[in-house]
Point group: D2
Chain length 288, copies 4
């Protein structure tokens, strides 16, 4: 196809991330859950682990909606050195406890190459945040870990740079990489970042890796999360990572963007119906 040719010129230096290396879609397993396989996957949870009570409450909430992977930050990257930077290892222990009690799998951010072993001990999936998308020591350390990696796009990353960062992880032997779009920096004033859904079909043409979308950080406004979640799936995303908090306005970080339990319930219901429709339509299309 003429268009995929024009896009493929973008990736002259890629190897392992490219469709040329592997034509079928990669499926990343996180316990019994999977990303990139049959139908989109929702990851949900708070911005940060705040207390045992909070994280257990959210784990049960998330579980009750059939969600199998929970997010939650124990080590938080913060613009200011004076902001709350997470509960650290105590946060990891609370995440592990929430997993034991509910069975949900856990993804949490790792900020530094040296922390990979301890986080890999507690978590089911390692998140590399947008600020660290080109922290190459960290990418390589994650590439030597025995856990799947969730790699978030940097705020000014072109597609070649984003995929090259995944290549860093894969070139160390870890091919379990999920890409995540979470908004780019533009002049726009009505969303904290510009969630760029165009990147989803572009990635699908060029790479076999699954790609999910973070509408919470991507828009920065609770009220934009539901429509942009649906839009992400319609554009072909393999899943969502969404912030939910028992009392969003009391969240210790990013209170503007977390969904309430009610808002989350509405989202999950709509997303599940949409996924059913997608499967049904794909079935129709195959019959023809």
């Amino acid at each position: 196809m003429a268009d995929s040719e024009s896009l493929s010129g973008l990736l002259s230096a890629c190897r392992l991330v490219c469709r040329e290396y592997k034509s079928e879609n990669t499926v990343v397993k996180i316990g019994e859950a999977a990303i990139g396989g049959e139908g989109p996957t929702i990851i949900a949870g708070p911005c940060a682990v705040e207390s045992e009570h909070q994280i257990l409450e959210i784990a049960r909430l998330v579980k009750s909606h059939g969600i199998r992977i929970m997010r939650g930050g124990a080590f938080k990257p913060r613009t200011s050195p004076y902001s709350f930077t997470g509960l650290g290892e105590e946060g990891l222990r609370l995440l592990a406890k929430a997993r034991r009690e509910t069975g949900v799998r856990v993804v949490t951010e790792v900020l530094d190459a040296m922390d990979v072993p301890i986080i890999a001990e507690y978590a089911d999936m390692l998140q590399i945040g947008s600020r660290n998308m080109q922290n190459y020591k960290l990418l390589k350390a994650a590439g030597r870990a025995n856990k799947p990696v969730l790699l978030k796009r940097g705020m000014s990353a072109r597609l070649d740079e984003f995929l090259m960062s995944a290549e860093y992880v894969m070139s160390e032997g870890n091919e379990q990489v999920v890409l995540c779009e979470r908004g780019i920096r533009t002049f726009v004033e009505y969303s904290r970042n510009t969630l760029d859904l165009n990147v989803i079909p572009a990635i699908k043409q060029l790479s076999h890796l699954p790609v999910i979308v973070d509408p919470s950080h991507g828009t920065g406004h609770r009220s934009l999360v539901e429509p942009m979640s649906l839009a992400a799936l319609a554009a072909g995303a393999d899943g969502l990572i969404v912030e939910v908090h028992p009392q969003p306005e009391k969240s210790w970080s990013d209170p503007e963007q977390a969904l309430s339990p009610e808002g989350f319930a509405r989202l999950v219901d709509k997303v599940n119906h949409f996924i059913d429709w997608q499967k049904q339509y794909a079935g129709l299309a195959t019959q023809t």
Copy 2:
């Protein structure tokens, strides 16, 4: 709602475009078709009117898919003074002929305030392009015309500026305005522009005007049109404006982005199924 409050701070100087002025959604009528009413509306056609044969062929194609509004440029804004700039009034006559023969309604671009009367004579809807979003004489002239207006977002327009341009049209007495997102300028390399779907739910919070999306100009790549069309509707858009050409690679302008008749048929089929699902889900949600 807390979030809509935070967004509404953006529009301190708006009047007629705001939800505060009019709470229910505006429905814009173009002949027997409508935008902003029940379910999304597709507008389709070539970038430019090239010949009688071409425009009639496309009008019939479009009609055969149940499409009731056709796009087609007679006066084309072009970056270079040496490029093809459209057939001019002859193009308008061909559009009118296509309407007579098929019954499809016609939207075409107006580049200058002085041209409003002649274009209003032939067309059913006046398009103001992204380069002219802040051409205030043109906006006011369109505001005095007796035809609905399709206003495209400028490539670096913030939301307040976009809505203020609609305010220019409305303040002259014409409240039949449809907004159109068609991509903003960013550093991104895999799409010609960055189609910004976040603007759709933001507009829906702040304004009663309908908003449609142009995935053809917004992405610049044929292969991104279908996924971004679905995504636009999932984000809440009231319609799409899509380029289709009998032989895209022979299109006199923008050959990279027009859909082929086959690609267009696939798009319409999927969009129609999606719209059915949306209505069905809305019905479910209402029952609860």
Copy 3:
């Protein structure tokens, strides 16, 4: 030179604006003043003509510093239809009166092709603003006028697009075009726009047209005007266009960015010394 080759690839479709068409620098004459000749030229004045008293006061002030070209808007493009949009033809008459009384030449903005004749009657130079950089009817009308044209860069214009807009003017027979950098739209929060001085040496490589800089609109903050003015000249600009107002905080538009008479006096003094140094250094360099 390798680098100029890499840049020149940008302008495949240009003709008259290119160095290949004309190798020596174009000098644009505005009365006895000139832009692009020996040493940089300052244009100064208020954002808008507000009253006879105001414009005469500024004309005398400007004149007293040896400035020979005054700016001042009679037709103002404004984001909101409810803002002050200039005194119109009365403003033009006041500008003409200020010229008669002081001898300063006058540049003022033209917003629409139809207004070119009347503005050309009163003004010495026609300004085409950033919002109209791709208003092709206006560009062509200015190309048929017998007055030099000051063409401001659009807020999201690439260099090829900017130069192509100059090509529109030139292709109608008017080669007296001055380009003006006035800031591009980026994510930056400390300046209203991002004044992009990199474009100056880039233009100098590719085109023979003179280029000046507007640090007032380009930064939007009075306190950034002096340093960015010097920087513009150091980067090779052929001049500056600066806003000055007797009482900036009472300016009817853009009060944040106009210099006070004292600030303007400091700027002119420093700029004049800098220009002396530039000439002296150029002399030294030639001797070697």
Copy 4:
């Protein structure tokens, strides 16, 4: 001053980096050289240390022009895992050897918190690159080192974020921080990045830290380096960091942007004359 007030609203959470904390300008000492004191300082050298012969040749060249600080990468961050990533510790040894033989001080990049001790052992100043501007472990490790820090702005960093990253270093006890503007990501096509000189006077209003400019990475084109260097100094920069290579076209990385020895000699001559003029003008201004 009204304008500085409007900018100072940007930095609500800053402490140590702010002018409120320390009103006089910070002077950072690198051996007998200094940045932020009397007159601008030039740092120059190759992108990467390639060999003993190369780095000694450049050290001598740089020294012969009176330059007292040399740059040169031993650990190079590269978009692709398959690119040359520097000579590592061997590169550090070669830099130390060049210092011994010529007396020039050495600044080199540190990519990871764990590498701070070894690099601090060899280098006179630690560079934190744009990709790591928000690598907080690295910032804190540099804050505990006994060496001055050169902190480069990230490609999509707002000013508050840039200064907050300096705050991370300072809050660990190291107040010897030099800020460096090196270009932001925009839609522009004629420079690899958009060197944003507006940030210089903005920083000077808000912070006491010195700020230098990297026109080599900032523009990505050799032919833009000289004009943008002069412009940076005219805007108030405390210095430059420039790439120079004996045979630029044979440079192992970024061959498009390094100056040749001849180009570098021209730059230094012009910069030195300009600095003389600045001092002379400052003297004149003081007398008045």
